[in-house]
Symmetry: C2
Subunit: 570 residues, 2 copies
């Protein structure tokens, strides 16, 4: 019913009181003009824009959806106008490099903007969601000519971009991509093949669309090392329409406002981006930033669901709450019922811990790039490498199950469209799949990142977290759990995987539990930071903190138990 209202003040509390964001970022030479006041102003303005322009289009975007007819995709009413207002106001360029026409603000500012945008309207936000990554990809890998032509307009958001990776037989396994690129006389290529699940492959939001496409050169080896990256614009600079067309759009469970396109390339003229055979590298440079944004989608959607459920719980009256003094035939607001309080406090515990972890990750992304000290840059890189898959997986899982819990607060009213809560559940489901399924995040964490260096980086991350915990009983409990987790990793798990005759499957059986256990440790760290922050106050924060320890944290022991059993079974 009522649209999501951004609350930039809550984000600013986490950024400044908990994480001392502007203090850290202002110290970097990369952000000479940035300070706490600017951060506050930008967040407030962003909150206004999102609340007034983007949020009101969420419901109609779901109901009307993007419409396909004869290759043309029409976006829902209001989408083109609001997107035009969005880029013209400069919102896409917040964190873009000044040299490319961007505003040069820290990544974390863009992160909070995207959290609000996704909470307000997930379908709408799919369109600019890939913009920053595409711009960075072109910035780092494209020729000077391509950069001149495309970079400023992608940084500004005047044009939008796609990532054309998936094919019908090649989803998680991009090594199976078959789209072909044949050299042309002028140094360009003729690109042919069919790509699916292309978000924003066709639409009427912008006058041009820039496609980044994975394809295979004629002499390329099979597998992922045979992939190169190409650029195909919808319109060439001379106005020629490229030979790329949208064959249809998918009917989906949610995000109906975002056209998920089947794109056919029929000898489309393409330019190589980066070196031949290095296509995946060029795209995966941006992976941590992209996965951070998906994690923020989860956080934003869960916050939107919480807002709705909380408002409903304060108004809806059903039954007397236990111990209530209301008379027979009267009823209390359901916010007084323990089952409802538990749902709300649990989701709040996930949302605010998620913000602490996500905002910290955004800060670390900038420290990794811009800190003068190489050791600090390495520490930051370690954070981003290990924490990002946890954030993406655990918080998109929670967006779905937590939004479903918020739906439950509405009873039967949650299952009908009227209140808008079921849309959040449907929209949120996709984030568990794209940008690497949540199972792949878990494998990425354990198999690709933790085990290969013998758990060294993981142990160092836990040490770093432990030093920030403070002195409460909860901090002590967290410290012990971190020690247990690190010992499990470096002693039991590594030994088991390296034992003679060990099954190569072993770490794959444990990966999901390993990621979830680390998510619990990160949440415990986050709540200790929130509790220790100055000016933390009010039942919203304390109820969520208590709720975390009571209802969320016990999963840590469960996951450790499951992993123990799996090791013994190996």
């Amino acid at each position: 019913m009522n649209a999501y209202q951004p609350q930039p003040e809550a984000s600013r509390h986490i950024l400044e009181s908990v994480l001392r964001a502007s203090e850290q970022l202002t110290a970097l030479p990369a952000f000479p003009d940035f300070d706490a006041e600017l951060l506050q102003q930008v967040l407030e303005e962003a909150g206004k824009f999102v609340g007034e322009v983007v949020a009101p289009l969420n419901r109609s975007g779901d109901e009307t959806g993007a419409q396909w007819a004869a290759g043309v995709v029409t976006m829902p009413p209001g989408f083109r106008e609001s997107y035009q207002a969005f880029w013209q106001a400069g919102w896409p360029s917040l964190a873009g490099a000044v040299d490319d026409g961007g505003q040069g603000l820290p990544t974390v500012v863009e992160a909070v903007l995207h959290e609000m945008l996704n909470a307000a309207n997930h379908g709408w936000t799919m369109a600019p969601g890939l913009l920053h990554g595409a711009a960075e990809c072109i910035r780092h890998h494209a020729s000077a000519e391509l950069k001149d032509r495309y970079l400023p307009r992608l940084v500004s958001g005047e044009w939008l971009a796609t990532m054309c990776l998936t094919e019908p037989h090649a989803g998680s396994d991009l090594g199976l991509v078959r789209t072909k690129a044949t050299p042309l006389a002028d140094g360009r290529f003729a690109l042919s093949g069919t790509k699916i699940f292309i978000s924003g492959g066709e639409h009427d939001l912008t006058d041009n669309i820039v496609h980044l496409v994975l394809a295979r050169l004629p002499d390329a080896p099979p597998g992922p090392r045979g992939l190169s990256l190409f650029l195909v614009p919808k319109f060439e600079p001379d106005g020629t329409r490229s030979a790329v067309h949208c064959e249809r759009i998918e009917e989906k469970m949610g995000i109906h406002a975002s056209p998920t396109c089947v794109m056919r390339f029929d000898e489309a003229t393409a330019s190589l981006v980066g070196e031949p055979g290095k296509g995946l590298n060029a795209m995966f440079v941006m992976m941590n930033a992209a996965r951070l944004l998906v994690g923020l989608q989860g956080i934003g959607l869960l916050d939107a669901a919480w807002q709705k459920a909380n408002a409903y719980a304060q108004e809806r009256r059903q039954m007397r709450a236990p111990g209530s003094a209301s008379k027979a035939g009267q009823a209390d607001v359901i916010a007084l019922h323990p089952a409802i309080q538990r749902i709300l406090a649990t989701q709040r515990a996930w949302i605010d811990a998620g913000r602490v972890i996500a905002y910290r990750t955004a800060i670390e992304l900038d420290l990794q790039k811009h800190h003068p000290d190489a050791t600090r840059r390495e520490t930051a890189a370690r954070w981003c490498s290990l924490v990002t898959p946890v954030l993406k997986s655990a918080w998109t899982d929670q967006a779905f199950t937590g939004a479903s819990a918020c739906l439950q607060v509405f009873g039967g009213h949650g299952y009908v469209r009227e209140w808008g809560i079921e849309q959040i559940v449907r929209d949120a489901r996709v984030a568990m799949i794209y940008e690497g399924t949540n199972e792949i995040q878990a494998i990425d964490l354990l198999v690709r990142k933790v085990l290969p260096d013998g758990g060294t980086a993981l142990s160092a991350l836990l040490t770093e977290l432990a030093t920030e915990l403070g002195d409460s009983p909860e901090a002590e409990r967290t410290r012990q759990a971190m020690t247990r987790f690190a010992q499990f990793t470096t002693e039991h798990l590594l030994a088991a995987t390296r034992a003679p005759g060990a099954s190569p499957e072993l770490p794959f059986w444990l990966a999901d539990d390993y990621l979830r256990a680390l998510a619990m440790l990160l949440m415990a760290w986050a709540w200790s930071r929130v509790a220790a922050a100055p000016q933390a106050s009010g039942p919203r924060w304390t109820d969520a903190h208590t709720g975390f320890w009571r209802w969320v944290w016990p999963e840590f022991d469960t996951r450790m138990a499951i992993m123990g059993t799996s090791l013994n079974a190996a």
Copy 2:
């Protein structure tokens, strides 16, 4: 894509090898003509009808949906014809009393039929889902005249029925119902008010619809004891249309083929059913049977999701599985990947344990009614009272989260409509809400059933389960956990709730965890029964059994830990 295919042989294995169903039921004087051969025949014929007639309408039912226009509801194409074939073939009357024109078969036969129907087409099955309960309600409470007029046609399914309970302000709290019934000169009543969420309130499946309506007489006290039950037919025997109309149908997340109606009664002529002020009693007599059917919806939907995911996992190739001998550039079927195997084995563990528990509950419902020995009838009543809320809550939760896990097997293909898996997720969500929300099931179990008798019935149930466990190490582990749970109940929990100054909220904080812990114990019992059964065989059963202990059971300790913390916090 491919519709659900019933597999009556798997259900028969559980019924006969695990539960010795026909042996127990044949011994009852109520079922003189029933035997194992008849059971097998009926299940096979039911499987054929469901697979050939009902399952193919699932997808189109979702896409077309029930349509409302000027008070008339048109069901999706094929629905009227298939429903007419359904009742004319005698399927609704399987378990109806012979005196009323039913076939007098045991409840468990109807239970398996409904599991298959729901798996095949949840929206379609909503229509006959309330039939048996409405018939039983009329049978036990209505006057001879009403019985003569309505009972045979409800038992046969020629006419369908509704339960008109909910009002906009009265959902879980029926004590707030305001619909009024004013006496007329002929002994009948004029009924006025608006009811919402009325499944099948209007449709074109049958020539008449019988509404059972909760309303308040003029002199009724406030609260639930002021409610009486009334019958309003859509058409009177003389063909007069009653003053009850469908104002609109809801747009919902799922079960689009089932019209969820807003019904307006404008001084509709109504007959009293049962005694004034006993309206809730008349409806709640059927509660265990109705909740069993909703639990079976969960089991059926999860089985349908598993079928789809399993078939896809056997065909879809992505990446080499760990330890695979496939060459670079080739890929294995995803069924070989541990993450996929875990999802499939976990859902199978829930489905088959759910069947054991649900079928046993259906058998106990008949033992409760028909066993010659009063003590055995009491044992059966205890089972139904304690197990039914657990089944309804835990298995409808799992239908939603497990169907979502099955969707994940499809990756991006699961989020689009094409494969039909996202429909199951949307459809399944409602079962966590209706027939008493899952939170209310938990309160029903702990606050209304376990605590009032000091845990006596609960302890007796656990003793009964423990004697059936056999002698394996798993059985021993289960026995210990049952002892721990019983001791927690009778010593710690009761003491805490009865301590001077104890908060009346305390058991409400623990109710969800208590129900889930009991669900784990029931599943452990069920898997020990399956493992001990003759002819249990094949990886489907053994993988699920292993999966239960490895990935599902650890929740027991988690729930005990959460409850322990909650007691300490009290």
